[in-house]
């Protein structure tokens, strides 16, 4: 049985070399060092759709984009109080991610639950990027401990605290799991396939609902009874 001191822990820079990324395998446990920034739909819409220039120099300052809104606040004196840090589900950002790679040069995307295998193959691999998933997904206190300091907060007025771009200096921040490697392999797809093998047995004896719903048929002209 694995435990937190079971799998090997890999320390990874947020400005990683291609070699360091290539060495990562699905399911590896990763801890990050260096500067990373939060960016989600608010940042993507502003930077990609509204074409507002980025407030920091990417990827020079950081190649790691965290799909996250921290539990944080700005004190009256301008300093920051950052408590817990937890990712938000990444699949919702699929429509922006390719353009974001182009603009930001990101090579590490950190989030919750990964993205689609197709996104990895067609958007991540061509940009030499990997995906790290947070664990749980509620290890907010552990990740909070990995924050050395908040280096900056951008677009706070325009986007609000939750959607703003937080720039964070991390030290041994983790755990994260490698959910897509440099070759676009997908950890969740692998696990889904294993789970799928047993599903028929679990559903045995149950029957479809008397009244169906759209989605259970793809033909919108179908009746649902």
């Amino acid at each position: 049985m694995a435990s937190t001191d079971g799998p090997s822990r890999i320390r990874l820079s947020t400005n990683p070399t291609p070699e360091a990324l290539a060495a990562l395998k699905l399911g590896d446990v990763v801890y990050l060092d260096g500067v990373l920034y939060t960016g989600r739909e608010g940042v993507y819409m502003r930077a990609i759709e509204e074409r507002v220039p980025l407030p920091l120099d990417l990827p020079r300052e950081s190649a790691a984009n965290f799909h996250c809104s921290p539990a944080a606040t700005q004190r009256d004196d301008g300093s920051f109080n950052m408590g817990a840090v937890t990712a938000t589900a990444s699949f919702r950002f699929s429509k922006w991610i390719n353009d974001w790679f182009e603009i930001s040069g990101a090579r590490i995307i950190i989030g919750k639950g990964g993205m689609s295998p197709e996104d990895y193959k067609t958007k991540f691999v061509p940009h030499g990027a990997i995906y790290l998933t947070t664990v749980g997904y509620g290890t907010g206190a552990l990740l909070g401990r990995g924050i050395k300091q908040v280096k900056g907060l951008y677009w706070r007025e325009e986007l609000g605290l939750a959607q703003a771009m937080w720039v964070i200096e991390a030290e041994n921040m983790g755990p994260f799991l490698v959910a897509s490697d440099m070759y676009g392999n997908c950890l969740f797809e692998r696990e889904n396939a294993k789970v799928a093998a047993g599903l028929a047995e679990v559903y045995k004896g149950t029957k479809p609902a008397v009244l169906k719903r759209f989605g259970e048929t793809d033909d919108r002209t179908d009746e649902l009874i």
Binding site: S69, A71, A84, T86, V135, G136, G140, A141, P175, Y203
Partner: protein, 320 residues
């Protein structure tokens, strides 16, 4: 008369407890799941979560960066008197939510659904939810806050009597499998199921079943209690664990609540109270004493009454 200052300071303390201290019943449930989990990755996740609860307590920081949606359940005993009345009470709970968001800090999650207006304090139109219940005897009020996480893991469906238990089972499995993949439901979770009522009642009952009953609690109807046990086992036999990895821990416990429904229907809702099952409760007595606990004890015999007039059961106290 319960002073409004006591209500507000108690509410702020509750926000802190809920956000930081995992309730003991859920912690015990997760530890038991971690003991039997033999999927490598799932097991790693459960141990990381246990470590995370410790880190939150030691550092007094929120256990999860996603605050979810803080909400309030207020139970008033029949003789309770609140300084300033229910309007003052609602203001105190809204203020406590805003202040705690800044002070702990919590993530300000609540925004306008269309304009995305963000007050940075988890307060806005219809937020936080404040729900009321009553009990026949006493002069106390119970305050419970739940920080309910999860955009995923909840579903509703109109089933019919002919769907039967097998139909209920199938929708239960559908919900777990759909939202369990990639761990979107942040399982293992306390699964709450609402059966019957009307659509809104069904959702309310299911959410309360997930959030307001502790791990190990059973419905007083022995046949429903048996279903709760069966569904817990069924959920854990899917072959899926934390984060959707191969494993056997999806469900820490399953709670079912029912409401009388239209004779032709059998509404069903499924709710998942996640790995950060955040709830905290306190009773403020008429004399100003405050007693903190983690069991909201919402579903008393009075809440589940069937008859027109309330008749206290003879074998136990009428009120919680």
């Amino acid at each position: 008369m319960i002073s409004i200052d006591t209500i507000q300071s108690t509410a702020e303390t509750l926000m802190d407890h809920a956000a930081i201290d995992i309730p003991q019943d859920y912690l015990d449930g997760l530890r038991a799941a971690a003991k039997v989990e033999d999927g490598d990755l799932s097991s790693f996740v459960l141990h990381a979560m246990l470590e995370n609860y410790e880190a939150a307590k030691q550092d007094r920081r929120a256990m999860c960066g996603d605050t979810g949606c803080p909400r309030w359940y207020v139970k008033m005993a029949n003789e309770a008197q609140i300084e300033g009345g229910p309007v003052a009470l609602e203001e105190a709970l809204r203020r406590a939510t805003a202040d705690a968001t800044h002070n702990i800090p919590l993530r300000p999650n609540r925004v306008h659904p269309l304009w995305r207006t963000d007050h940075d304090n988890n307060v806005g139109i219809n937020a936080p939810e404040i729900e009321f219940g009553f009990e026949p005897e006493g002069d106390w009020i119970d305050l419970t806050t739940v920080h309910k996480g999860g955009l995923f893991g909840t579903d509703y469906r109109m089933l019919f009597p002919s769907d039967g238990i097998q139909g209920i089972k199938r929708f239960f499995l559908d919900s777990l499998v759909a939202f369990g993949k990639r761990g979107l439901a942040c399982q293992p979770a306390i699964i709450g199921i609402g059966l019957g009522g009307s659509k809104d009642t069904c959702m309310v009952l299911g959410k309360r079943a997930a959030c307001l009953r502790v791990v190990g609690d059973r419905n007083p109807d022995p046949k429903i209690a048996a279903l709760e046990e069966e569904f817990k086992e069924l959920g854990n036999s899917i072959g899926m664990g934390a984060m959707g990895f191969v494993g056997k821990s999806m469900v820490i416990d399953c709670h079912i609540e029912v409401g009388y429904c239209h004779t032709g229907g059998m509404q069903m809702s499924v709710h998942a109270f996640c790995l950060s099952s955040r709830r905290a409760c306190a009773r403020i007595h008429g004399d100003g004493r405050v007693v903190f606990r983690t069991d909201p004890n919402w579903f008393t015999p009075y809440q589940r009454r069937e008859t027109v007039a309330w008749q206290a059961p003879t074998d136990q106290a009428a009120s919680a």
